[in-house]
């Protein structure tokens, strides 16, 4: 572990040095982390649902067998690798039988949009499919959902009930103590009622790293300073959205800039957690209702 930590520290310090060599960077807490802010977010939780707003599955609909079979064939060709052959999750892709979007879908009206647009930020490419092909996929996915829900012995995947092994008091202690969470967050402030807004895996993922967190950036060029929300950053181009919603971009080599990404503290915490810390902290956050 010592060796690893050393390696990782070395790695980060070198990143900073190269960041500095990019030119024009005055204060750069971590270009790496700032880039990660602008990079596609990590894979999503399957169920980002508000308990109060949970939509119950529509009454089971029986689709024509030929349509389900066509859907299975189409699903197997393009979807099964990531979402599993039974649409119940696989390599990188969420369990569609427990998806909120699928629960709200009627005959492909929601599924079709996702299939055709893709979710390129999450690694899903768009598929230029006909209405008939979408209808077959929807029929297959809804049928799999029904089968999964009818199966005895509990559901696959991660349920809210699975994430109740932590100790609340230890979690509170970690929050104010070793975890350093209280440096930025407050149970009566920003996190007040957090457990009514997020639950289960979605809450735990957000706790470990909030993908949707915004970073702010201050850009200086020829003595003129612009402040806004970081909209894009790679090695060559920097962009922000200002308070009026206007997009501005620069070559990174032409400006000095400072990215303020508070969520980076979450990245620094990742190597420090024990699994018990995660479960305890989760128990504490789930108590904030």
């Amino acid at each position: 572990m010592d060796r690893l930590e050393k390696l990782f520290c070395l790695h980060w310090s070198r990143s900073l040095r190269w960041g500095a060599l990019l030119g024009g960077v005055i204060a750069l807490p971590s270009l790496a982390a700032a880039q990660a802010m602008a990079a596609p977010p990590a894979k999503p939780a399957t169920a980002v649902s508000k308990p109060a707003a949970r939509v119950s599955a529509p009454a089971h609909r029986v689709y024509p067998e030929a349509l389900v079979e066509a859907g299975e064939s189409n699903f197997r060709q393009a979807c099964a690798f990531c979402h599993g052959r039974g649409a119940d999750g696989g390599e990188g892709g969420p369990d569609l039988t427990q998806s909120k979007l699928v629960a709200e879908d009627v005959d492909g009206d929601k599924i079709g949009g996702v299939v055709r647009k893709g979710r390129t930020d999450k690694g899903m490419p768009p598929f230029d499919y006909s209405d008939a092909k979408i209808a077959s996929l929807a029929a297959f996915i809804h049928t799999r959902k029904y089968l999964a829900e009818s199966k005895p012995g509990g559901r696959k995947g991660v349920a809210v009930a699975d994430l109740q092994t932590g100790n609340l008091a230890a979690g509170r202690q970690y929050f104010v103590g070793a975890g350093g969470c209280a440096n930025c967050h407050s149970a009566t402030g920003d996190l007040s009622g957090i457990a009514t807004r997020y639950e289960g895996l979605a809450l735990e993922q957000r706790m470990l790293y909030p993908n949707s967190a915004k970073a702010s950036v201050t850009v200086t060029r020829a003595g003129q300073t612009t402040i806004g929300t970081l909209a894009y950053l790679d090695e060559f181009t920097l962009a922000l959205t200002d308070s009026k919603g206007v997009y501005h971009s620069w070559r990174t080599s032409d400006v000095q800039y400072k990215v303020d990404a508070p969520a980076n503290a979450h990245i620094e915490q990742l190597p420090k957690y024990t699994d018990a810390d995660v479960h305890n902290l989760m128990a504490y956050l789930q108590s904030l209702r």
Partner: protein, 516 residues
């Protein structure tokens, strides 16, 4: 006498001038595959070593700033190009699932296109073809091997490599070694046996098959060990080196106690018989989908003062390994990014998996994530600097499995919490990272290095990058509109050096401007 000599010289000169025209047609023979000419890229890695390093020096750190587009080829497909092109006789061959294009390497125009009929197979990707004596070898989503005439794309024969109904598919580029076409399979969604097969290049008949794991259904034994990335070959030792995939069920290890041989392994097989010479297991008893199929890169050189025939792998599980490829003995095992799943390294140099970091009903926080610290994208060994350059993906994730997830196929769930992308240059003698270069998120682009001191790759934003291979500094870039999911190649034609990169469904050829 003088006249005689002059006539002789003139005649020689004429012959020399004519000879290239007469002999120009390249034939991808066994000999050519061992010693590929500069105007070819006749196998997946360019040569048998897997180093993805070229001796070409026309494009240099000094002039690379002038690099510009020579041509682009639009496949007009929604499928992403994941193939590494081949180049023989001025013709490029590259693929997406069910499709091969033969394209003029000078101009980028299509010569012919072949399409395979849609099947029930897996369309996750297609990594390219192999060529031997005028015929191409192409794997299909339903795990068939098709041999086609390289001149016109006409099918010569088709054989079944895996049963699609059992869950086999194939995405890999075959490797031709001597008189063998080596083909592998994929199939993570089912508990089935992985294998590598040698096929007769003329007839498609099976010559030998090596199974990674016992037959499906053997009690307490693993399945899996797929062979989905092209291996390497040492002609002197006549050994082929191949990485094998993860065990199945994937995230639930209870049903397959022990090391699960030979999953997540690097194996050395006798090329003519398929017999196992030795095996090394980067990830014993894997429960995180960290197959060890990443390119086994072959390097001859000094290791702590001794000349060695080495094999290097930056493995998906986060460790960089150096082995003696004559016998599989470990020389170095070092993580190249954050890893937290092993309690140490055993006497054989293999990481010891921590049982507390196996997936669990309430989740385990694991580094790296399922995609791994690296993956299918090729690394490059730069013979000039002695650096092993790899596109890495430091990441943290949550891994779950519970009884309801069963013991078949995936058997669990995992979610990336956070990750980023970094090009890392590893000193192979120590594992120390000499330089690193941030590329945003994870990138699918592999790395190509050249003798002039350049490393070509891509970032997650769609920028094609040329880096100084000695320090990682960016010397040239071009926004390409989509991130790359393939590994660059280079060749010289008509005295002009080309670098090929793909982004999305487009193939780009880059070169220095032509003299007007």
């Amino acid at each position: 006498m003088k006249l005689c000599k002059a006539v002789f010289l003139v005649t020689s000169a004429i012959i020399a001038m004519l000879a290239p025209a007469v002999l120009h047609a390249q034939d991808a023979t066994a000999q050519m595959l061992v010693h590929p000419p500069a105007d070819s890229w006749p196998s997946y890695h360019g040569d048998y070593s897997g180093r993805r390093h070229s001796a070409l020096t026309q494009i240099t750190p000094q002039n690379v700033k002038n690099l510009s587009l020579a041509w682009a080829f639009q496949t007009n497909q929604t499928a992403t190009i994941k193939s590494s092109p081949l180049l023989v006789d001025g013709v490029l061959y590259f693929t997406v699932p069910d499709n091969i294009w033969a394209v003029d390497a000078r101009s980028g125009h299509q010569i012919w296109r072949y399409t395979y009929p849609p099947s029930k197979g897996e369309y996750i990707g297609q990594r390219g073809v192999a060529i031997y004596k005028g015929y191409l070898y192409f794997m299909t989503p339903d795990a068939h091997l098709v041999s086609l005439n390289a001149k016109n794309g006409k099918v010569r024969w088709k054989v079944t490599v895996g049963d699609v109904n059992k869950g086999y598919w194939s995405t890999m580029a075959p490797l031709v070694v001597g008189n063998h076409v080596l083909v592998g399979v994929g199939g993570d969604l089912d508990n089935i046996t992985g294998y590598l097969r040698a096929v007769d290049p003329d007839t498609g008949a099976t010559q030998w098959q090596w199974d990674s794991t016992p037959p499906a259904g053997t009690p307490n034994q693993t399945t899996g060990g797929m062979t989905w990335i092209t291996g390497t070959y040492d002609p002197d030792l006549n050994l082929i080196y191949w990485g094998t995939g993860n065990p199945t069920p994937v995230l639930n290890g209870a049903a397959r106690p022990g090391d699960d041989l030979y999953t997540c392994s690097i194996v050395a097989l006798h090329a003519d018989t398929g017999q196992l010479a030795w095996a090394f297991q980067p990830a014993p008893h894997d429960t995180h989908d960290w197959d060890a199929v990443q390119i086994p890169v072959l390097v001859d050189g000094d290791f702590h003062g001794e000349p060695k025939k080495m094999l290097m792998q930056a493995s998906r599980n986060g460790y960089f390994f150096v082995l003696d490829r004559t016998n599989g003995k470990n020389l170095l095992t070092v993580p190249f990014g954050p890893v937290n799943w092993a309690t140490g390294i055993d006497a054989k140099g293999q990481p010891i998996p921590d049982p507390a970091k196996e997936p669990a009903p309430d989740g385990r926080l694991i580094a790296p994530d399922e995609g791994g610290l690296t993956n299918y994208r090729s690394p490059s060994f730069d013979t000039k600097t002695g650096l092993f350059i790899v596109s890495a993906h430091p990441a943290w994730s949550l891994y779950f499995t519970k009884p309801a997830d069963g013991t078949y196929g995936w058997a669990g769930a995992d979610y990336t919490v956070w990750g980023k992308g970094v090009i890392e240059a590893i000193d192979y003698q120590t594992g120390k990272i000499r330089w690193s270069h941030e590329i945003g998120g994870e990138s699918g682009a592999g790395v190509l290095t050249t003798d002039s001191g350049l490393a070509f790759t891509g970032d997650s934003h769609g920028n094609v990058l040329a880096l100084d291979s000695s320090d990682g500094k960016t010397l040239w870039h071009a926004g390409s509109g989509a991130s790359s999911q393939s590994s660059p190649i280079t060749y010289v034609l008509d005295g002009r050096q080309f670098v090929l990169t793909s982004s999305g469904s487009v193939m780009f050829a880059w070169a220095l401007p032509e003299a007007q």
